[in-house]
Amino acid sequence: MRRTHSWAVSAVFALILTAFLYSAYRGHAIAEAASASVSVDPAVLPYYAFRSFLRMLAAYLLSLTFALVYGTAAGLSKRLERVLLPILDILQSVPILGFFPAAVYFFVTLFQGRTAGVEMASVFLIFTSQAWNMAFGVYESVTTVPRFLGEALEAYGVRGWLKYLRLYLPASIPKLVYNSVVSWANGWYFLSPAEVIGTGLLLPGLGSFASAAAQQGLLGRTMAAIGTLVAVVVAMNVFIWRPLSQWAGRFRYEFSPGGGREPESFAYELWRGSRAFNSIRRLFTRVFDRMFIALLSLGTAARRLRQGKSGRGLTALRWVANVLLLATAVYVAVVGARSLVTVFAHPLPAESARIPLGLLASSLRLTAAFLISAAWTIPAAVALGHNDRLYQLVTPVLETLAAVPATALFPVIVFFLATRPGGMNLASILLLLTGMQWYLLFNAIAGVRAIPRDLREAARSFGLHGWLYWKRVVLPAIVPSVITGSITALGGGWNALIVSEYVAYKGSVLSAFGIGYLLDRAVYESQNFQMIWLSLAAMVLVIFLLNRFFWRRLYDRAVIHFRFDE
């Protein structure tokens, strides 16, 4: 992890987001947006599953394209890197769900009230939960390609697109596949909030089915929807992600220092043995290669063009593009500044005084969920990381469990806890927990498995056992990966806060007091732009300060002290 912060980029971004929020909320009320009705008839489940899947697929394809373009651009150009990386860093730490209602209004306005706008908004929300880590993955892959490999290709005259096709794209595959698994899990997590918007708006899908059934007290049907969702998730893991992960192993140029192998997938053999699949794959590769060769000749033509007289035309074109970009930036900044004025020109609403208390209440919930996660995931990770057979056996199960979205379970959790005293508080912590624990677990496992074999054997041969082994070897070794996991987990946690403190249930609203509650109330009840802006800003500020002055510093120090040098 590197320091990617830039004050200028942050300031511009704050203005852009403010402008976005303001234009989205101005003059709109929740009831105005289009609403589709959702059936709770079990017969529609397969169709709803298909709708949910399509939504996910659309968002994923968008994310994939974004990640490849953005990550490669940031990785290959030093100039772009200075701007693109800080932006990605901000996007990653913004609690997306807080901006979701704004996005809904934005897209609904754009599509003039048609349901298509709501669909676009939900795809957009899922996209924002998938794209950033994938882009980071591509960026990391591109920048960590050993320099001698690039130089070797240059020496043989391999440049431009061909160099990308033969070097950077294959080098990105392992991290891209790994992050795709994470992104799909993220996407499923956001699917329910993307289908059930606030207190009423619904899009046909598995998430909305589950929520609608729970609101009507039909627990069996809720479970049926969740069951369908789990079946889809499991099938995708078994038939797509496991085989793809195994395939991606071919694109690694280093071997993991822990020496362990990844679990093997039977579906991998299934795909490889299928004649139909192989002919499709060959066709696809051929088309892809043709396309690239066409691009190659296009690139050569463009280079010749630039060297020739018509180069002046290209320069002019670039100049016009720059002016347009600058004009847009200025316009957005002006709108942002104007909307900021509306926040502070009027007296602040009385409720804004409760924001600090709300932050405190939410932080306590987050801390509780974080501590519970750490308490079980670290011992589990150590056990799994030290036992290859257990690892191979349990990892697919854990990955599937992790992909089961907690937000879909939330209606059930609420169903059981809603009527109990403090039930909503407990339900909220449970939702946070399910949204945080997997990040910690998988990061910790990676940390344990990265301990060099020689080091473990040295510890064994010198008789280190039990607590002393933990204290001297395991715990220090996993500090950096546990910190990374904590940052991601807390990012997920802040996001989950927004859906966990405010939920519609049987015609009324159940809530637990916190920053998420304040935000949701402002969005769905009072529609007070000042409150929306203030609670979002407070949240973003706290996340930013914590990351910058606590986690990053901790990580930087940990890396110096706790890393194995090669």
Partner: protein, 249 residues
């Protein structure tokens, strides 16, 4: 009685219904005070054999007896020096060297006293509080050696201890290891060292075991009868080296 007695040892890995035999019918013994080198091409299972002697891996068949008892896990009498040094980056030189004693529950002061003695012996006086990342490769391996000596082993196992070092550093450290081995005040009695440097083996060992490529077998057991200290420039030395070379190839 032999210190180490290995009879009929096989090592087979099973992987996807395929089995690969890396060691086949290995038998030899090491007498107290002996310095034995295992040489052979890569893939001959030398390191696997060493790890089995250390109790870090189990033989598929056959027996490994240390002092008449089968080796099933890491024991107090055997210490290992690793090719990659295997130092904990978050512990100082002292912390790393004391590790084995800490595992045995030796009190802090006693630990420090004993660790300091060996840190001095390997020439790292003044670097007690340094971290491994601040040391050169040669110094790191000195820490590895001091850590092994501190637990006062009877048998020292070394897995290509000099191959990650530059030629000059390796040469100096070889001489120092020989000096330490001959030092009567030090506990180390016997050494088994894995190497692929034939000159290195001829320079240091009392006996050289030549292993064949996969599956690893012992092709020859050659006593090195050259007088010590040995000089690689001697004619007898190079004749001996040539002989071992012809056995390896």
């Amino acid at each position: 009685m032999a210190l180490l007695d290995i009879t009929g040892v096989y090592k087979t890995y099973t992987d996807n219904n395929r089995s690969i035999t890396v060691l086949e019918d290995i038998s030899f013994s090491v007498e107290p005070g002996e310095f034995v080198c295992l040489v052979g091409p890569s893939g001959s299972g030398k390191s696997t054999l060493l790890r089995m002697i250390a109790g870090l891996d189990q033989a598929t068949r056959g027996s490994i007896l240390y002092g008449g008892r089968p080796v099933t896990e890491a024991t107090d009498h055997i210490a290992v020096v690793f090719q990659s040094f295997a130092l904990l980056p978050w512990l100082t030189v002292s912390g790393n060297v004391e590790l084995g004693l800490e595992a045995r529950g030796v009190p802090k002061q006693e630990r420090q006293r004993r660790a300091n003695r060996f840190i001095d012996k390997v020439g790292l006086d003044g670097f007690e509080e340094a971290y491994p990342r601040e040391l050169s490769g040669g110094m790191k391996q000195r820490v590895g050696i001091a850590r092994a000596l501190t637990v006062e082993p009877e048998l020292l196992l070394m897995d290509e201890p000099f191959s990650a070092l530059d030629a000059l550093t390796a040469q100096n450290l070889r001489e120092e290891v020989l000096t330490l081995w001959r030092d009567e005040t030090l506990p180390v009695d016997s050494v088994v060292m894995v190497t692929h440097g034939i000159e290195e083996a001829v320079l240091m060992a009392d006996r050289i075991l030549v292993m064949s490529a996969r599956p690893g077998r012992i092709k020859a057991d050659v006593p090195v009868d050259l007088p010590r200290p040995r000089n690689p420039k001697d004619e007898a030395f190079s004749r001996f080296t040539d002989r071992i070379y012809s056995l390896v190839l």
